[in-house]
Symmetry: C2
Subunit: 356 residues, 2 copies
DNA sequence: CTGAAAGCGCTTACAG
DNA sequence: CTGAAAGCGCTTACAG
């Protein structure tokens, strides 16, 4: 009495979620001449099953095209094979690339991946996004590059399997919440020093929202300036995208001392460059600009963008690996940095010339 | 996402309410003094329940912080409130923006959204991605902008709730599979005519992989050329991204007749422009370039990009609306175009000058 | 309008 | 190593 989908004339109340074939472990069991519990053991590959019966079951699975029902699995309390990514934004390069890395790793491990987008960093929106993630998956990875993400991290139930990709490993390390991050301090320092070595008296910084004070990259910028005995100008910036960079660039364009600018990401750099262009300040002759991220397009800008390469996909993969450790249950994994960011020298930065 | 203006600080105190320690409908039933079936009726808001008992149940739900278990719901055959997006690529602008639109609409409707990425257009990868989607969700939206997506569409089980966003409404309309698309023929025609009106003898086309022959936009390009009595040059192009545009641009740069180039997307245009720049061909004085998509960065390129605006997020929202119609079960919804693409004139295209 | 039954497909115990 | 039980939390029928 195997269940079949009578789909010829689907009535209004048809079962949603109907699959083309609804083969259950009982069907497999019958075909293999074993009990359905044994089938369960085989598909979970964790109990003792005699080799010969395992083979028989596996063959039946293949022949019938059996695929376990994930809802039933989740209900009965099996191991999770699903995660949802809690994130603010899926279109900005950094976020999208982390998501891609997570998805790749999750796919390789046969995990289903969901996404739960944070509408804002407001209490309500954060709570909703967290609940949605908890309700629909067995585990979560939060991308905490911004305030909304950090708050989501804090709002996660304490006992829920979780890993995170963060911008800065600083604030409030929630106990047992492991995370990964990209330590870009050295690269930010190198980028700043690179501009200083080009003869620029100082280096300005256009920050992404969350990184103004706490980020490693801001720290690297400051450190390089301090080492050179130069006072750090006030960081500017109020957004993530090209329009925000454009705003910052317009302000900076009026400041003749702003001849070298480090930007929190490549979109910001693009906006800054555009603003400088409109103000008649040539890049790199009058102003040097360095970005952050090494987004795929940055090599094709004119001038091509000198920037810091960040391996976001690798960060995503590392977050997933960390989540798997959590799920394996062998204590809480260590938080750790991922990758080694490096300055990619291209055309947008050049030697200082006194006359703008 | 606004980073300013908060109503009140969100202390970590409400964390307790985030995770309902598995409150079930039985708990709610007990608290409300009804049977658990009645609770089920209330949370599904579809059966006849006396107003007063409904209120009692709703209050109990609120007090206990009950949230229905989605796995149990799916298992028992309730209405789906989940969808997974089958797509080739989550980082290219068009795909990411469609995904964003789907997510927005899904979020508003309290749907969980998953993603299933197509590794390639190979039979095996397509089958795997489709199975993964079918196994983990009650419904699917496929982004069929490319061959892999189209094949995934064809590989979906016939009775599975499905909607699609496609590039071209042409090929093989699978019965009862509704889709949405952006009809950009008129805009492509307008863009081509715009270049022709600028005095260019002809317009070359750098295509995205799938659109060379069948797409509306390629058709618009050809139509405008035909109307002007100009033979269409062979379309070039072999990829989606800036490097692919760069390759095409290098080839085109050697052709003095290529003074006006329409590109299948903005990344391609960026690559073409870069290649022209390196070849010493000034934009727009020697070569005019027009893109497609109006990606957020395109206004900030130097020169800023003349391009065709496409509302991908709107397309994603429309696909979700269509999926909801499918799930409502009232016959199969009509396929239809979404939005009205328009040429956005900026700096990258200019008057033809005979001497390059 | 409301309750008692049966069962979705699986997984953990528990017995052999 | 393998089978028989019990149950995950919900939803559909089915009875009143």
């Amino acid at each position: 009495m195997s269940v079949t989908g009578h789909t010829s004339a689907a009535p209004a109340g048809q079962r949603a979620g109907t699959r083309s074939k609804s083969v259950s472990i009982r069907d497999v069991a019958k075909a293999a001449g074993v009990s359905y519990q044994t089938v369960s053991r085989v598909i979970n590959s964790n109990s003792y099953v005699k080799e010969s019966t395992r083979e028989r079951v596996e063959q039946a699975i293949r022949e019938l095209g059996f695929r376990p029902n994930s809802a039933a699995r989740a209900l009965a309390g099996g191991e999770t094979r699903s995660l949802t990514v809690v994130t603010s934004n899926t279109t900005l390069y950094g976020y999208a690339a982390v998501l891609q890395g997570i998805e790749e790793a999750a796919r390789a491990a046969s995990f289903a991946v969901g996404i739960s987008v944070l509408e804002s960093d407001g209490e309500q929106d954060v709570r909703i996004a967290v609940e949605r993630a908890v309700d629909s998956s067995g585990s979560v990875i939060v991308i905490a590059f911004d305030r909304a993400g950090v708050r989501a991290l804090e709002a996660m139930p304490a006992d829920f399997p979780l890993a995170a990709a963060v911008e800065t490993p600083a604030a409030r390390p929630a106990a047992g919440r492991p995370w990964v991050w990209i330590d870009d301090e050295a690269a930010a320092r190198a980028a700043t020093r690179y501009l200083l070595d080009l003869g620029h008296p100082t280096v300005h910084y256009v920050a992404i929202p969350s990184s103004t004070d706490t980020s490693r990259r801001a720290a690297g910028w400051r450190a390089a300036l301090a080492e050179a005995g130069v006072a750090a100008p006030e960081a500017v910036g109020s957004g993530w995208d090209a329009p925000a960079g454009y705003q910052a660039g317009r302000r900076l364009a009026r400041d003749p001392r702003a001849t070298a600018i480090l930007c929190g990401n490549d979109d910001l750099a693009l906006g800054v460059i555009r603003a400088m262009h409109e103000a008649g300040r040539a890049i790199p002759d009058s102003v040097s600009v360095v970005g952050f991220d090494n987004a795929p397009q940055s090599a094709f800008y004119t001038p091509s963008l000198t920037t810091v390469h960040l391996d976001f996909a690798g960060l995503g993969r590392a977050a997933f690996a960390q989540l798997q450790e959590v799920l394996a249950g062998a204590g809480s994994p260590k938080s750790h940095p991922v990758g080694r960011p490096e300055l990619v020298v291209r055309e947008s930065a050049g030697a200082y010339s006194a006359a703008p």
